[in-house]
Amino acid sequence: MPCSLKFLLPAMILAGSVAALAQSQPRVYPGLGTPLSQADIQSFDRMIGPEGKELPPGRGTAKEGAAIFAKRCEICHGKGTNEENGLLRSLVIGSPGKPYRGAFYGEERNGPSYYPYATIAWDYINRAMPPSNPGSLAPNDVYAVVAFLYYWNGIIKENDVMDEKTLPKVVMPNRNGFVPAVPVYPPEKKPSWY
């Protein structure tokens, strides 16, 4: 705890001072720009943070995900699981019940075992996959594909249901594999580009 406070405190102080610069001032150019309603924002906001607050309702399991993967993902990522050839090999490291815990220098980085938060794969698949028609997977499909990948990577059990409540609670095996533990700006270490 003292450790994470040490990282967070400078960021919080900075955040306060920066926001104060722009806060509570009247508009300078009131004729420009159109106000957005909450409904407007909900219609386009697909950015999912690490706490998963914006995740839409839905559910899926590894078994359902296998069918969707075969239909929508296999054409590029390859057929089968980590025991067969195909690009899926690079999406899977470790095996059911045995998550891979590093190190991640090469191909190991390609799959979700490397990701620090369970929400990242959901957000990325939802926004960018499949490349031929990004955004065409329904929320249930995305939950199912994520469950499928997490099961074969040994991160969840075969019958675990992934939904907007359970997904953010999945603790990723590489959660503590990043430096700094909590990203801060400005960076603590100088020079920053090391």
Binding site: A15, V18, A19, A103, G106, P131, P183
Partner: protein
């Protein structure tokens, strides 16, 4: 038609003569006729690489002078296999999240707000990657192009992002942003709010013309001095948030595992360190005896370049090069150094010092800082590295051929 053809012939003849004058001493393109060399000089070509999910253009650093990269030659890294077709009248930029007044702007409205024009470099975080040394092909141009050509420099015109954020009114919890593009994959990236309030531009103009589609038409972010993935193209949404939002790019794709961090990965890279490269003479060109101008570019995310030094004896001794105006913060700076080649083997290289006092490191110094050994670079494939700013040595052989000596 006929007159067009003959005027083109006349133009070629005239410029061929000029090219002969310009390159008669000092440098030639190895193994190519004077005519081919001239054509290469007349029409610098971007190198291009297309894969299933990436399109990359490399700037022909060896072929241009000054510090402004023509928009058509600006490097590009597209995380998608196609360019979006965006109707500028339909395009909207929204500012939402932790703000008092969520707003949507048309491109026309953005152009009515106070504007700035600033000259800044952009650079891919993976530019100069150890992996691409020696891995070129004929479509990618000369080594200085495909190794270091993912940096370019332009005059960017647009509205400061801080103006838009003030219009929306930041709430007190606001500390980070996450921005999103209108390309097929809806590229997203996190940005600290402090940087957004400092100097980030929502750009609609590049070198005096509207952005080109490769560069994010109709609007993009330009985040000066920082790795280019922050500079989201086809900008559609800026969401103000209270924590790093862990988009796939910065939290996964652009993180790097490092031995000095006990096999943990460094993530959330921001600013670039000092970097320079000799663009002429460089690998693939041929040295001729006598006077030779050594020229190149230097830049740093920290601000202006205070000093550029050149060595012609493999780093044994260094002399200061001339920096040419304008020398601008977070922009390419052109340098030149007068030299005469005596026909003996030589290794030429440049290093720069930025306004923060940081000096561009040698490969040995950089390796030490990252907990690596020089031997590690001999592995196949070479270790992955980003923000790679080691000094670039070019080796000149007695026959005048020039090669890449980074890992030699």
């Amino acid at each position: 038609m006929n007159s067009n053809r003959s005027s083109r012939r006349r133009f070629l003849k005239q410029t061929a003569a000029l090219a002969g004058v310009a390159t008669g001493a000092g440098l030639a393109v190895r193994g190519q006729s004077a005519q081919a060399q001239h054509l290469h000089g007349e029409l610098p070509r971007r190198g291009a690489r297309y894969t299933i999910d990436h399109m990359t253009h490399y700037t022909p650093l060896q072929d241009y002078a000054g510090i402004i990269t023509p928009a058509s030659l600006h490097f590009m890294q597209q995380h998608s296999s196609e360019f979006p077709e965006i109707d500028v009248r339909q395009h909207r930029l929204t500012i939402h999240g932790l703000v008092d007044r969520p707003l949507s702007f048309t491109v026309e409205e953005l152009k009515q707000l106070p504007s700035v024009s600033r000259i800044h470099f952009l650079e891919c975080h993976g530019n100069s990657s150890p992996a691409i040394h020696g891995a070129g092909d004929p479509n990618l141009g000369l080594p200085v192009q495909f190794i270091h050509g993912m940096t370019s420099c332009s005059e960017w015109t647009g509205v400061p992002l801080s103006v838009l954020l003030k219009e929306a009114g930041l709430q007190k919890e606001a500390s980070w942003l996450v921005s999103e593009g209108g390309d097929a994959g809806k590229f997203s990236h996190t940005l600290p709010l402090a940087k957004a309030m400092e100097d980030v531009i929502v750009a609609y103009g590049q070198n005096g013309e509207p952005l080109r589609v490769e560069q994010g038409y109709p609007v993009r972010l330009v985040v000066p001095g920082w790795e280019a993935p922050f500079s989201v193209k086809y900008l559609t949404h800026v969401k103000v948030v209270d924590q790093p939002y862990m988009a796939w790019n910065e939290s996964m794709n652009h993180s790097v595992t490092r031995p000095d961090l006990r096999d943990k990965a460094r993530w959330y890279h921001f600013q670039f360190g000092p970097k320079s490269v000799v663009t002429r003479p460089s690998a693939g060109l041929e040295m001729l005896r006598g006077y030779a101008q050594i020229t190149g570019l230097a830049w740093s995310g920290a601000g202006v370049i205070n000093k550029v030094e050149v060595s012609t004896d493999g780093g044994g001794s260094w002399k200061e090069a001339k920096r040419h105006a304008p020398v601008l913060p977070r922009a390419h700076t052109r340098f030149t150094f007068d030299w005469a080649w005596d026909g003996q083997e030589a290794v030429i290289q440049s290093r720069c010092t930025d306004e923060a006092g940081e000096v561009q490191p040698s490969l040995a110094e950089l390796s030490k800082d990252w907990g690596m050994h020089l031997e590690d670079w001999k592995k196949t494939p070479r270790p992955r590295a980003i923000h790679f700013n080691a000094i670039q040595p070019w080796k000149i052989a007695r026959d005048g051929s020039i090669s890449d000596a980074m890992f030699a």
